[in-house]
């Protein structure tokens, strides 16, 4: 036996109904039900579809997680749940379920920040996170650089996207190229057959005048527009679209800026650890380029395996476990869901 905390995590901030169970840094169960297939039919997230799907999935997913981990609810030391940010209706389902389970089983509850959980999940793969670390969080709704000096109590935002998120750019470019939703995996696949230098797409906020005010911020709107213009010009000319080259060149532009700014943040802060999280961290080129550039400066890059990068319950459990170990007080049972929860708040 071990005295490390056994923590259950519930995630319902967007598409996935995820319930994970961890003991300390050890992953015991990671059960997921996804409404992505339903959303794919609509070309995106549909709030009401998401809420309804969570409601239907949560009890069976809970049972599957407990079975996979070989534990019962009575064995659990604490329940963690994503309290924000995310879609309001979707968050509410998870928070209400967590409260119900916490009340019924008399367990402490932790309402946690979804983005901090994307950082914490790496502890399941690589063990305790050295602090301070720099975190690059890239997903459909977020693109942020964070200084993580104390993950249990708060993180310091260094920069973020000033327009579109990186994952959103992948989704929109995929649609331009006639590739399915979500756009990340099909662009990654198509790019492997393409030339990343075929088209010189813009790198947002990297010009000297932009760096002065936006050194650690991102902008992917101009890139999205540039791809749209390029594609439209080919279509107007009646030419076939070189999908692989466009995908590779677009992906290279995104990964180039993300990794350059993340490494710059590490060097500016004198930090030797870069952790990358969020759905876009599953991108193969982002992982490769980050490692290649970090090596030059002796920076260690930590990226969890793709399944842990996308939304899941294990990441929420991992953060909950970290909070319990750090002696952070649980949340009140009337904790609210906060769709716009700021990054500076790790648990409510």
């Amino acid at each position: 036996m071990t005295d490390e905390p056994l923590v259950l995590g519930i995630e319902t901030s967007c598409d996935e109904t995820g319930i994970g169970i961890v003991r300390g840094h050890t992953l015991l169960a990671d059960a997921i039900a996804s409404s992505v297939d339903e959303h794919a039919r609509f070309g995106g997230v549909v709030p009401e579809v998401a809420s309804r799907a969570h409601l239907e999935a949560i009890v069976p997913t809970m049972q599957r997680a407990l079975d996979d981990a070989g534990v019962s609810l009575a064995d659990i030391d604490a329940i963690a749940v994503t309290a924000g940010p995310g879609l309001a209706g979707a968050l509410l389902v998870g928070v209400a379920a967590a409260k119900g389970y916490a009340l019924a089983a008399e367990k402490p509850i932790y309402g946690v920040n979804h983005l901090a959980a994307h950082v914490a999940v790496d502890t399941l793969e690589h063990g305790a996170l050295p602090e301070p670390a720099i975190a690059l969080l890239v997903s459909g709704g977020h693109s942020s650089l964070l200084l993580v000096d104390d993950l249990a109590h708060g993180v310091t935002p260094l920069g973020a996207t000033i327009d579109d998120a990186a994952g959103e750019a992948f989704d929109k470019v995929a649609r331009l190229l006639g590739l399915p939703f979500p756009g990340g995996p099909p662009i990654d696949r198509a790019a492997r057959e393409g030339d990343p230098e075929a088209i010189a797409f813009p790198r947002g906020l990297t010009a000297p005048k932009d760096l002065a005010a936006h050194r650690f911020d991102f902008s992917f709107s101009g890139l999205k527009t540039a791809v749209a213009r390029w594609v439209e010009a080919r279509q107007r000319a009646g030419e076939a679209l070189p999908v692989a080259d466009v995908a590779a060149s677009f992906q290279e532009a995104v990964c180039d800026v993300l990794t350059a700014k993340a490494i710059d943040a590490c060097r500016a802060q004198g930090i030797g650890t870069l952790v990358i999280g969020g759905g876009v961290a599953a991108n193969s080129r982002l992982r490769a380029l980050a490692e290649q550039r970090a090596e030059k400066y002796g920076i260690q890059v930590r990226v969890p395996r793709p399944k842990l990068c996308t939304d899941n319950g294990a990441m929420v459990a991992a953060l909950g476990s970290h909070l319990v170990a750090a002696g952070v007080a649980p949340s009140r049972l009337d904790l609210p869901a906060d769709s716009a929860m700021p990054l500076t708040i790790v648990s409510v």
Binding site: H39, D164, G167, L176
Partner: protein, 160 residues
């Protein structure tokens, strides 16, 4: 009666949003249209700057809608609801999806700006202003403002 405005550069889109914001009052609905990359979010950033609201205005595609509270310290008094129906467009009944967002709950007290909302959100208010942005080959923009109901036509005269 359509009002057309030329915007040579991105900064002009922002500045035009700022100018447009001076016409706005509680209960207003703006429906933004135009192709991918036309500058819809950039225009809302300008409107937000003019209204002096809190928080960074970024694309709401993923979260569907975001409410920006006014910043009284900078003279702000109107909340801005920034919504994006991009992901709702292909739903079987997108109007029901918009209703689920409960945007109407705050509409009377706020300025509501919806991207990709054409044909979906107009029923949220008695009147609205349609703002269509076109992106041209030289990267300049042409904005067309189409009033629909209310006193939009009179208010737009102030822009000329």
């Amino acid at each position: 009666m359509t009002t057309a405005v030329e915007l040579p550069a991105l900064e002009d889109t922002h500045a035009f949003g700022d100018r447009l914001s001076r016409l706005l009052r509680a209960g207003d609905l703006l429906v933004l249209t135009g192709p991918l990359g036309a500058g819809k979010t950039a225009l809302v950033q300008g409107i937000g700057a003019g209204l002096a609201v809190q928080g960074d205005i970024t694309s709401p595609t993923f979260v569907i809608a975001r409410v920006h509270k006014p910043d009284p310290a900078r003279g702000g008094s109107l909340p801005l609801v920034h919504a994006d129906a991009y992901r709702l467009g292909a739903a079987s009944d997108p109007r029901a999806e918009i209703d689920d967002l409960d945007l109407d709950a705050s509409m009377d007290d706020a300025v509501t700006v919806v991207e990709w909302g054409e044909g979906i959100v107009e029923q949220l208010a008695d009147a609205h202003l349609r703002v269509h942005i076109d992106r041209r080959d030289d990267d300049s923009r042409l904005v067309r403002l189409e009033p629909s109901g209310g006193d939009w036509a009179e208010r737009l005269a102030a822009l000329r």
